[in-house]
């Protein structure tokens, strides 16, 4: 049985719980928020652990393939578009800055390392969050409020194994591939303004790209993409799965709020974890 709150304990004794004063009120408010945040963190960790443990189970292969198509393959066009213009603007801006110091020859290195180490993994993760993360949260949220998840439970089908694990597995497969794709298109994108429009030497550009990138850089980007994959899929599925427990809305409104929360929290965690992983790997 859940522990009684202080108010309930006082109510049992026929007394009223003391109201927080102006001094203690901020602490009470902060305390409540922290307790709720830690509790959510714990619940999310359990949710993620359970979902990860059910990836390698019978009957999952087909579902993982389908989700990889939806999350990964169908994101290629938007990733290509964003990568192209990110590369182009990076090339343009960097050239204009470097040329002032006569260092435009290093453009290839700057572009390649920026994309492979940082921009590629982060922007790929953010775009997939916007496209597929929101869809995951909305889909699972709708399934929750229309009792489809309850229906799975009545059929003795674990809803986390059936709905969540394939999405996490598909994200782990898709994110690194899409990140590599982003990097490639971005590097090509930077080539366009700098070499074609601004007459930079193509050979110099390509030479700098090749010589500056080593395996450590690629590994760093790869690790980040994996971390982001787990974060985005877990957060999005978690928000959708517990839509019915929201206190700030019900029904369709709750699904909308869950979708928004999924995107916002995922983006924030991408940036925070980016710093953490970067500092750990340096």
């Amino acid at each position: 049985m859940a522990q009684k709150t202080i108010s309930e304990q006082y109510a049992e004794q026929g007394a009223q719980a003391p109201r927080p004063s102006a001094v203690t009120r901020p602490f009470a408010w902060t305390g409540k928020k922290v307790v709720r945040w830690v509790s959510e963190l714990g619940a999310s960790a359990i949710f993620l652990g359970k979902a990860l443990s059910m990836i390698i189970r019978p009957k999952q292969f087909g579902a993982i393939v389908r989700q990889t198509y939806h999350i990964g393959a169908r994101s290629t066009s938007i990733i290509a578009l964003v990568a192209l213009f990110t590369g182009m603007v990076l090339g343009l801006q960097s050239y204009n800055s470097l040329v002032q110091y006569g260092a435009q020859g290093t453009l290839g290195a700057l572009v390649a390392l920026s994309l492979i180490r940082e921009l590629g993994p982060v922007l790929t993760a953010v775009m997939i969050t916007a496209r597929a993360g929101s869809a995951m949260a909305a889909e699972i949220g709708m399934q929750r409020i229309s009792e489809q998840i309850d229906a799975l439970q009545t059929m003795r089908v674990d809803p986390i194994r059936f709905l969540v694990s394939p999405k996490i597995a598909a994200s782990i497969i898709s994110f690194p591939i899409l990140t590599a794709f982003f990097d490639l298109i971005g590097i090509i994108g930077a080539y366009v303004p700098s070499v074609i429009l601004l007459d930079m030497d193509a050979g110099a550009y390509i030479y700098r790209v090749q010589s500056s990138v080593d395996l450590n850089d690629v590994t760093e980007g790869f690790i980040k993409s994996l971390v982001f994959a787990v974060i985005v899929s877990a957060v999005s599925c978690y928000q959708g799965y517990f839509t019915h427990m929201r206190t700030d809305g019900h029904g369709a409104k709750a699904v909308g709020l869950s979708t928004t929360s999924a995107v916002v929290i995922s983006c924030a965690l991408i940036l925070i974890s980016d710093y953490v992983v970067t500092s750990l790997l340096m």
């Binding site: 229309s146 309850d150 229906a151 439970q153 009545t154 059929m155």
Partner: protein, 408 residues
């Protein structure tokens, strides 16, 4: 088989069930009735394990669910199926995929066998044409039947139905209730039903549980409920029942008995009257050979013609059993009743069926035959209605025979 012992359930400060005690017998159809918000769905969700009681215990075969090991509990609940009030179909899957899902995910059957069993169930529900459509493309009634197919495809031991006939027309309602009764007979499962469809649901129920104000106020057979003298239950059942039965348009049994009492209690002793009993024989065979719901359509047509012929001489009728109609004739003796019966039989034979199922053509290889029988009895004011009806039933003989084109 299933027992609730002092089960209490609260949602926050609101108690939905309070010290509920009930028993569900194996192999029976138990119907739970009550006003909206009485806690019927909450009670049902306890059986499937979607909710756990705050107090009390739920026992399966005498063993508390809480004390079972996880594997034992899972194995038990694997044999229970649930049909949701709002269907809970997966809208990103086709009807075939929805029906196949329980078999696919919880058994090791090969894909072909899963597909075959699922299609067979879909055909039973007359949904073969829409098997590859999505739930949002179907009408509410079709979605209901798809949900029913999904609930039955695993051949469960216990099936829980949360208002299975909501949103259906009277013919489909009775067809679904008839289907539940038929499948229960065929597969031998225990059914627990939540329904507001009084009195239709009583025709298939072995037991009725009445929930009122968070408690169980009655457990027994539908016949016992009819004579149970409790003003609160009386009022509740009357508010759910309505004056006339939806399918046939005839009086409900309760109102028939009330009118019977009024019509015959103050008559002089020597004044006799007649009672007729009509039966549509083998309704399940009719449904199977002529199409789903046909028996209900024929029964409805029978009611119309009975009312036309016998109502004209002051007779009043009720659907007494699932395919049986009883008519009381307060102003006619046996001789007159026999004459009217002959007219009814001829009229119904000529005009009552043709618009429902076509007559079999000469030399047709596939035809189905069904019969209607009727019995008459002379009543006396001193006799009880049940004894006269029993006498009429014993006098039953065939009055009409039909040969129709069969689809199988």
């Amino acid at each position: 088989m299933i027992e609730f012992k002092n089960v209490t359930k609260r949602f926050g400060d609101l108690a939905v069930l309070e010290k509920v005690n009930l028993t569900i017998q194996e192999g029976e159809i138990t119907t739970i009735i009550g006003l909206s918000g009485a806690g019927k769905s909450v009670l049902l969700k306890h059986i499937i394990g979607l909710l756990a009681p705050d107090e009390g215990a739920i026992l399966f075969y005498g063993k508390p669910l809480k004390q079972m090991k996880k594997s034992e509990r899972n194995s038990l609940l694997q044999r229970v199926s649930y049909m949701f009030q709002n269907n809970a179909l997966f809208d990103s899957m086709t009807i075939l995929e929805n029906v196949a899902l329980p078999l696919q995910q919880t058994t090791n059957l090969p894909k072909k066998e899963t597909q075959r069993r699922s299609m067979a169930m879909i055909e039973q529900m007359e949904l073969a044409d829409v098997a590859h459509k999505y739930p949002t493309e179907l009408s509410g009634g079709m979605q209901k039947r798809a949900a029913l197919a999904r609930a039955l495809v695993t051949e469960p031991q216990i099936v829980l139905f949360d208002e299975p006939t909501t949103g259906q027309d009277p013919i489909r309602k009775n067809a679904i209730l008839g289907m539940i009764a038929r499948y229960k007979k065929k597969f031998g499962f225990t059914a627990v039903l939540i329904s507001h469809e009084i009195p239709d649901v009583f025709f298939i129920s072995n037991r009725v549980i009445v929930l009122h104000e968070k408690k169980v106020v009655f457990q027994g057979t539908p016949e016992e409920l009819e004579v149970f003298d409790h003003p609160l239950i009386d009022e509740m059942v009357s508010s759910l029942e309505g004056l006339k039965e939806e399918l046939t348009g005839l009086y409900s049994r309760r109102h028939f008995k009330a009118r019977y009492k009024t019509a015959f209690s103050k008559r002089p002793d020597k004044q006799t009257y007649a009672v007729a009993v009509f039966s549509l024989n083998d309704p399940e065979v009719i449904n199977e050979r002529l199409g789903h719901g046909k028996a209900q359509e024929i029964l409805r047509s029978m009611s119309v013609y009975i009312d036309k012929h016998f109502g004209a001489v002051g007779g009043f009728s009720t659907r007494y059993k699932i395919s049986e109609i009883v008519t009381a004739l307060p102003y006619s003796d046996l001789k007159e009743a026999e004459r009217i019966l002959k007219d009814f039989a001829r009229d119904f034979q000529e005009r009552g069926i043709g618009h429902i199922v076509p007559a079999a053509r000469n030399g047709a290889t596939k035809s189905a035959e069904f019969t209607i029988s009727a019995g008459l009895a002379q009543g006396a004011p001193s006799a009880t209605p049940d004894s006269i009806i029993k006498s009429a039933v014993s006098n039953k003989k065939e009055i009409a025979r039909f040969q129709c084109e069969s689809r199988r």
